[in-house]
């Protein structure tokens, strides 16, 4: 069992949770993820590490209550425990050597991109962090990012923080201002990552995206998480989760992402279902 040490609601949808897992905390690196299972009937879900403390032996995860499992997870309290917590999984993000980077987080992706921004900043890289949210009430980790970046630009869909627009607009503006990035890292909804990659492509800026497909085991054994990269399918859990954004087939990823949508809504409502969209 893996004890939950802290639970904190960051906003009505997003929860930060600190879990005790000393062995994983010693090893996990920015970009890597864990698979967790709440209890015996639970499913395995992947969550990317937001922070870790090897001294304290803890891993911090941040998640959005969107499905049956994350909604149940959000109800858990400090002192409860998770049945299974496996990691570190996936490859660390390749950050070595970057001098001027832009880290882009869309919604919850901000929490996932934070450790990379922090690592880069602590290793002498100039780091711009651009984040995007629906409105000002949903903004995540503003203070943490302020403390670990050269520049923070927060965009909102509705302009409620006075900065209306998409993350790609902010990115384009920074490129136009001569930011001269040698690395762009985008984490967020697939559609956002797609447009970030499209923005950087004409400039040939190395762009990594952190893919978030469906996963079952997370160890490379079932192919559930395959992502089309160039001409081949790769497995996000062992070959990724980061891939070259200029090679990923985002449309394929978006299509595959909905395969279990009817089940997900059924699980949220707790009723039986076996009506895939293709059935």
């Amino acid at each position: 069992m893996y004890p939950i040490e802290q639970v904190e609601a960051l906003n009505p949808e997003v929860t930060r949770m600190v879990v005790r897992a000393p062995e994983i905390a010693k090893k996990i690196k920015p970009g890597q993820f864990i698979m967790l299972r709440i209890d015996e009937v639970g499913e395995r879900i992947p969550l990317t590490m937001n922070d870790c403390d090897p001294e304290a032996g803890t891993i911090t995860i941040i998640f959005q209550a969107v499905g049956a499992t994350t909604m149940r997870l959000a109800q858990m309290k400090a002192g409860d425990a998770l049945l299974d917590f496996a990691g570190p999984l996936g490859n660390p993000t390749e950050l070595e050597g970057a001098k001027r980077a832009c880290v882009i987080g869309g919604g919850l992706g901000t929490a996932i991109a934070f450790p990379q921004a922090k690592w880069l900043y602590e290793h002498g890289c100039e780091v711009d962090v651009i984040t995007g949210f629906r409105n000002v009430d949903l903004v995540l980790l503003e203070d943490e990012i302020d403390a670990h970046s050269t520049r923070q630009i927060i965009m909102t869909d509705d302009g409620s923080n006075g900065n209306k627009g998409l993350v790609t607009q902010a990115l384009q503006q920074r490129i136009d201002e001569g930011a001269d990035y040698d690395l762009v890292l985008a984490v967020g909804p697939v559609i956002m990552m797609k447009f970030v990659a499209a923005t950087t492509k004409p400039y040939g800026i190395k762009t990594l995206v952190s893919m978030n497909p469906l996963m079952i085991d997370g160890t490379g054994m079932c192919g559930g998480c395959r992502v089309k990269v160039g001409d081949e399918y790769l497995h996000a859990c062992v070959d990724g989760p980061d891939f070259d954004g200029h090679l990923v087939d985002f449309d394929d990823a978006m299509r595959r992402g909905v395969m279990y949508r009817t089940f997900e809504s059924a699980a949220r409502e707790g009723r039986d279902c076996n009506e895939g969209e293709g059935a």
Partner: protein
């Protein structure tokens, strides 16, 4: 061999084993084969003629002293029979169910030359199932056998330290890390534990058993039974660390240097999925067999939403492949409510699946399109699979493996309308251990190179066996390797 103390059963055919009705069972995940009653087991055991050259024993990769245990069953001494089986085989309830006995012990049975061979697998299964319902008597019989051996009884010793490769020296105080918890690893762990070795098994998933847990379906091998058989290893000094992916959480050097293990056994299997490589195989509604089987077996998706993992099942499904995994996937899809067709590029004779599994699949209403190969998956405008274009094949000259090479029949393309496609065309070895273990020699296919007899790798103290060495094969071959590795590790740990 001692003279028989009972009347032999001269029937040429074996005592049939009761099974669930095919129509009914295709709707449930309950175990298909129900097992022998005590009377049926005794009657079948009396078909064994106790022939002196015991070809069956040499046909068994873990060397179970078959005539000895069958003789005990024939006399109704089920506890003793169990003790004899169990001393040679750490997982008899599993082997009795999933071994391809027709190509092993039963394939060489003397009675099979003129009639059906003795149903060794069913009898092995019977003894271990009996032991589960009579735990005290079973334990007493095991203790008696051990004590008789300790007291110097030769027969007892030959059983207790039975068979090829058994570890003969005391390994108390030695610590061995076993990576992976599939059949090779469990056998290796069980053998070493018998000699007093302190074993820790590291498993990446949340449940132990490897393919026994996530791969082979409930209706062939109940998961409660796997966990029960595995937990017995825990009684004998084997501890398990689940959620521990070696290569990520620890690497082998750390296990040996920092955690102080004296030796390591790598039994990580061949679990990486292989694809067809055809257009459209990424469409929604398509998956590799291991995804389907993992969702259903490990995660119990067939009980969604009571269990939270879902599984997609279409109405018309094609499973591509001709091995046991293809049969398991087809029968699983059938139980989820799909009409299922198995598409295989060679003929029935060439199918690697067990005859019994093919037979069971047919009984359950699964169609076969043999000498057929998929060329392209077709999708609808929402990106879901809607059809599979196939081509007819004919068999040409034998290839390097001795099997006749299938060739396309020009112009024979046709389309099967489907909404679900399962690919069961083999699996590859996960490169993680190879990549993270300096000094470990591997082949170009990431198979670990290991000595056939001792299972020693190029790295001192590191041993390997099962699918991770030979590629995807059978449970019992993995167990045989686990047993040899235990002997190899025993030798290594007692040198000097």
């Amino acid at each position: 061999m001692a003279r028989m103390s009972y009347e032999a059963n001269k029937q040429k055919t074996r005592v049939p084993m009761p099974e669930l009705d095919p129509v009914e069972r295709a709707k449930t995940f309950d175990e298909v084969a129900l097992g022998y009653s005590e009377e049926e087991a005794v009657l079948e055991a009396r078909r064994c003629i106790q022939c002196p050259n015991t070809p069956c024993v040499s046909g068994c990769p873990v060397g179970v002293p078959i005539p000895r245990f069958i003789e005990q069953v024939a006399q109704g001494n089920f506890a003793r029979a169990y003790a004899i089986v169990k001393s040679a085989n750490a997982l008899p309830a599993i082997c009795g169910r999933v071994c391809p006995q027709e190509s092993q012990c039963e394939g060489v049975c003397t009675r099979g030359k003129n009639g059906e061979p003795v149903a060794i697998g069913r009898l092995e299964r019977f003894t271990s199932d009996w032991a589960f319902t009579h735990p005290d008597e079973a334990k007493r019989a095991m203790d008696e056998l051990r004590e008789e051996c300790a007291a110097g009884d030769e027969v007892a010793c030959s059983i207790w330290r039975s068979a090829e490769g058994a570890v003969s020296k005391d390994l108390a105080g030695k610590r061995v890390a076993v990576i992976g918890s599939g059949p090779a690893s469990l056998t290796c762990a069980g053998e070493l534990a018998k000699r007093g070795c302190d074993i820790t098994v590291f498993e990446a998933l949340h449940k132990v058993g490897g393919v026994l847990t996530y791969g082979i379906p409930e209706f062939r091998l109940p998961k409660d039974l796997v966990q029960r058989e595995v937990s017995k290893l825990g009684d004998s000094g084997v501890s398990f660390e689940t959620n521990a992916l070696v290569g990520k959480l620890y690497d082998i050097d750390e296990l040996m240097e920092e955690r102080g293990f004296d030796a390591v056994f790598v039994g990580t299997g061949a679990g990486l999925p292989a694809y067809l490589g055809i257009e459209g195989e990424g469409l929604n509604g398509t998956m590799v067999a291991s995804e389907l089987l993992t969702r259903v077996n490990l995660m119990k998706a067939y009980r969604f939403p009571e269990y939270e993992t879902p599984v997609y099942a279409g109405k018309k499904c094609v499973v591509v492949g001709g091995g046991n995994v293809a049969m398991d996937a087809a029968r699983t899809a059938r139980r989820l409510g799909a009409e299922v067709t198995v598409v295989y590029r060679r003929g029935r004779e060439e199918m690697p699946a067990r005859a019994e599994e093919i037979h069971h699949a047919e009984q359950e209403g699964i169609e076969f399109q043999l000498l057929t190969n998929p060329v392209r998956a077709l999708g609808d405008d929402k990106g879901w699979i809607s059809g599979l274009e196939c081509v007819r094949m004919e068999l040409g000259e034998p290839d390097a493996s001795g099997r006749r090479r299938p060739q396309e029949v020009p112009g024979s393309e046709f389309v099967i309308d489907i909404d679900m496609l399962v690919m069961a065309v083999g699996s590859k070895t996960n490169p993680l251990i190879a990549k993270t273990t300096p000094g470990l020699e591997v082949t170009s296919r990431n198979l670990i190179v290991a000595d056939e007899r001792t299972c020693a790798t190029s790295k001192p103290g590191v041993f390997a066996g099962g699918d991770t060495v030979i590629g995807a094969a059978t449970v019992i071959l993995a167990m045989g390797a686990g047993k040899r590795a235990a002997a190899g590790i025993g030798e290594y740990l007692t040198q000097g």
